[in-house]
Symmetry: C2
Subunit: 219 residues, 2 copies
DNA sequence: TAGATTGTTAATCGATTAACAATC
DNA sequence: TAGATTGTTAATCGATTAACAATC
């Protein structure tokens, strides 16, 4: 059922970054690169790079290094970017609209096929050539269109109910921008979270930690 | 110079999530909670919760658990949310606009004091009550206004140059939405990345890994 | 061939979990 | 007090780094 065995989360999280750096190298016309050179560019150890890549196969050649273009393509394949999963966006507010407009879905293995909102002012408007539909028509849409994934750009109090409806309609893969933990409620779903608030708070922590003197903390 | 000693990245990343759950508990009127109960709600081990919290202090009480409200306030303080760091937004496109409109900066320790873009169509327009300024006036603005942090919502090819300018103007804390690794080029800066493309590719990986049969992968 | 660099095993380091004495 | 639960130390687990034989 799984393509690769026991790939740890840290390894998976590094894959898109490898993909990015290899893409840049390829654009610059670089043909081959050693784990040593790449480690310097990326701020990792050469050992880690070799370990990571060897989870998926032996893409290098002793005495030579890694061929940039084919490794780039291999990682695309590992990430599954050669798929085209259909996705719908839930929520056409500021954030939803920006996600719809900003993302190159096709380059990341997805195609945006529907947008839903419950605000009558938004229903009927177009975003990136896609008509915003009434949230009430969600089930009907999913029954008519193969829907692989849903993108949550709605306020947290709306998420649970919509997730329930999607789950019953068979949509179980979620890109979650909402301030809500989907994974706690179901366990046969796949969730990738983008918690912007959490990220901003972590920045706040880092700044505070680097700048505060212990004397100030009790103030 | 640092408030806490040797706090590991995994612990820091969990703090906003603790903060969120404690906030919800407090809203529901819950007065106290044991690490055991919280672990069930959050899908962690009780041991980890106690270890994490004890990095910062002994907030619990034997035989009783943790007082929800005061722990919530403690975590806010640990995260530095009682600060108000001034931040400027670079890039008023779809994503920048959404970030400006969508985020509750004040609740996360920040205040948005300026927005910059190089597109003459955007300069002079208002976003959330803030006038979009010409990117050329960046240095002047920073010299007149204490600027603690910058938010990057510009295309990757623009980042390096703007980061240079900000760095020279003394702005060294960045919330980075761009597809570019700032941290590789400087080392006395603080960066928190939001790599939406990486996140979407990770979702693609997870879906592919769960659904592909090995036989299909070579196709 | 000789030099370079991989793939892979072994050693180290760090994070998570378990256990339990301290104590409310 | 007795029961519960923390704070903290010890044990385990997993991830990273180092080392080196295989080999291009």
């Amino acid at each position: 059922m799984h393509r690769y065995k026991n790939i740890s989360a840290p390894v998976i999280k590094r894959l898109p970054r490898y993909y990015r750096f290899l893409g840049e190298l390829h654009d610059k016309g670089v043909i081959r690169i050693s784990s040593r050179e790449l480690s310097v560019k990326m701020g990792l150890t050469a050992s880690q790079i070799r370990q990571d890549l060897n989870c998926f196969g032996g893409f290098g050649q002793q005495g030579y290094g890694y061929p940039v273009e084919s490794l780039y393509n291999e990682i695309a394949h590992i990430l599954g970017l050669d798929h085209t999963y259909s996705a719908i966006l839930i929520g056409a507010g500021n954030l939803g609209k920006a996600v719809a407009m900003h993302m190159s879905f096709e380059k990341r293995g997805f195609r945006l096929i529907g947008i839903f909102d419950n605000d009558s002012k938004k229903i009927g408007t177009e975003i990136r050539g896609i008509m915003v539909s009434d949230l009430d028509s969600l089930e009907h849409f999913c029954s008519q269109n193969k829907t692989d994934a849903a993108i949550f750009c709605v306020p947290k109090n709306a998420v649970h109910d919509i997730a329930d409806r999607l789950y019953r309609a068979g949509v179980k893969n979620y890109w979650n921008f909402s301030h809500y933990d989907l994974s706690v409620h179901y366990d046969d779903i796949i969730v990738e979270n983008v918690h912007l608030n959490d990220s901003l708070m972590i920045l706040c922590y880092k700044i505070s930690d680097a700048n505060d003197f212990p004397d100030n903390t009790s103030a």
